[in-house]
Symmetry: C2
Amino acid sequence: MDRDHHGLFNVLIKITIMAILGEEFSMRLYNPGRIPRSVVPENQEFPMLALSSQLTPESLHYIRNHFPYPSFSPEDWHLDIGGLVRNPVRLHYDDLMRMSMVSLPVTMECAGNKRAFFHPKVRGEQWELGAVSHAVWTGVRLRDILSAANLLSDANEVIFEGMDFGQRTDIKGTFHYSRSLPLAIALHPDTLVALFMNGKPLPFKHGYPARLIVPGWYGMASVKWLRRVLVSDQPFEGPFQKLDYMIYQMNPNLGRRPVTSMKVNSAIVQPTDQSVLKKGIRQVFGVAWAGEHPVTQIHISLDKEHTWQTAVWLDPEQRYSWRRWVWQWDASKEGTYVIKAKAADSVGNTQPLYAEWNVKGYENNSIHQIQVYVE
Amino acid sequence: MDRDHHGLFNVLIKITIMAILGEEFSMRLYNPGRIPRSVVPENQEFPMLALSSQLTPESLHYIRNHFPYPSFSPEDWHLDIGGLVRNPVRLHYDDLMRMSMVSLPVTMECAGNKRAFFHPKVRGEQWELGAVSHAVWTGVRLRDILSAANLLSDANEVIFEGMDFGQRTDIKGTFHYSRSLPLAIALHPDTLVALFMNGKPLPFKHGYPARLIVPGWYGMASVKWLRRVLVSDQPFEGPFQKLDYMIYQMNPNLGRRPVTSMKVNSAIVQPTDQSVLKKGIRQVFGVAWAGEHPVTQIHISLDKEHTWQTAVWLDPEQRYSWRRWVWQWDASKEGTYVIKAKAADSVGNTQPLYAEWNVKGYENNSIHQIQVYVE
């Protein structure tokens, strides 16, 4: 599309969204907040019913913490890069600000998103649909920082430590929130040390002064309040690496595997489950996303997955970015309907009817379904 | 308690709440919003996890609408009292402001609160725990207004019409949101035409300029954006009176009865369902309320209702007012626990283990239970 058509297209998208969401949106009367799932640590999900723009405002972007918010003095903050490097580096905020930066739109999803929908119930935060959000992150490529530190040849894994810390219920001790990445992911050009979110300095709750951003991976990888980067030749054994964010089967003999990149997933935003609609043309509105590959297909079924209809994308195909979609439904016959949405990514990964149950309740990418009544 | 002790008592309550809710509350870092259940009409519930003060801030008080927000010009607004009266009255805002006013703290609950917990699922807004809130309403006694209009002797029922209107899915036509009250309730000294909420003029979303407040009744009685009061000798037949807010049994031969005053009810606020706790002394924190009678008892069971422990009230006994409570739990043994809370009012009404399922999903006052894990 040329520039003029693109502008018009955006206007049409906006009108479509307004038509779906109703006048309250345009009047800015509608202002829900984040949905709390726990108070300390603070865990809050994006209210999926507030989805209008593709970008999630910072104040609505989901928040997932493992510990209370850290206390620190921003003036004293610095980022240390050490371990298996020839040249240990200490970077102050101004040093980072002087480095070359890139901006990436990234849909981030908590590995525990949709945990509330597992049966049997799984312990932990009962996330429903909204532990997923979309923001533009701006920062320095991690590989530029690592190359300044000059990695030694036996470097194999990179560990990231946040300033947040506390105790766990399962093992003794005080831990910082720390995670590691394989070297190839750490050196990937899209892995950032972000200083800005949606064009503004990182809000405190989203990791100010600096946050690791690992596009395409579940959110546990994107360490907030980053203060230390440690290059290692050993697999990292921290509890958020080796105990949490592991897929354990019901049968412990089946072993475990780590949670890494996001699975293809989607949500029906409107109408809502159990709602009553008047006969006529109705819009089914939602969003879909994937991990390392762009999400490319979105289909709707009204007949227990026998047939699938194609919905219309409202956002262009873009790696790491969720896409809003709409499907026009000729709801001319009274009755009770189950509506299912199923997305697929560019390499053919798709959503299962029932995601694999696992002990810690991760990676629930089951097909989302709602029941509605047409009168 | 004398005044000094009362002051100290309040400080202690505050410290207790802070201890339960954690530092984030005192740092004002914690700021969730209302949880959206539908966009148009706007329906949003109080995030129960944000409960700290007894009073709900206006911005978090639950909102239940049947239609889009009304458009009107506040300067042209007036309240008409007509029907079976000797002296029809038109009151402007300033007229009401000059009348004698009273202030009442009132816990208001939507009749559909906790609908999401009915099995099988019931159509309609899927309210969880938070379609209930507590505010101080200030206004003119309705009986003062009715007595100015001078009721005729055959007056029997009073109809209240809001400015909000729209269509329904089940019957043809355009309707205003209208409800009626039996004359005795309309003349009750606590039935108000409120102009203030928590000491400030009514916010638009809560019914500005004037809202009927019927303490002890479910929220559907407290008509927002009130514009007309009509005195009648006939039972009112409006759809929000005769179709909605009726208890229909699964078996239609069992007849129906209208929804009126609030049933005794309670909620466990913290810990949350499926959460994992460290061994030790833990606080179970919640809130309980009732309708026409004050709530006076709150008990906790950990053993499938075999034995009940008494929790401690954090708020004094007061008609129409919910009361926060806390129960200190010696969680010294590892294991999985189901915690149940059950309230009773001053005349012995209590909560059932399972509230009666009904077609429209009203009056769910089932005992609230959560499952937690102690490690």
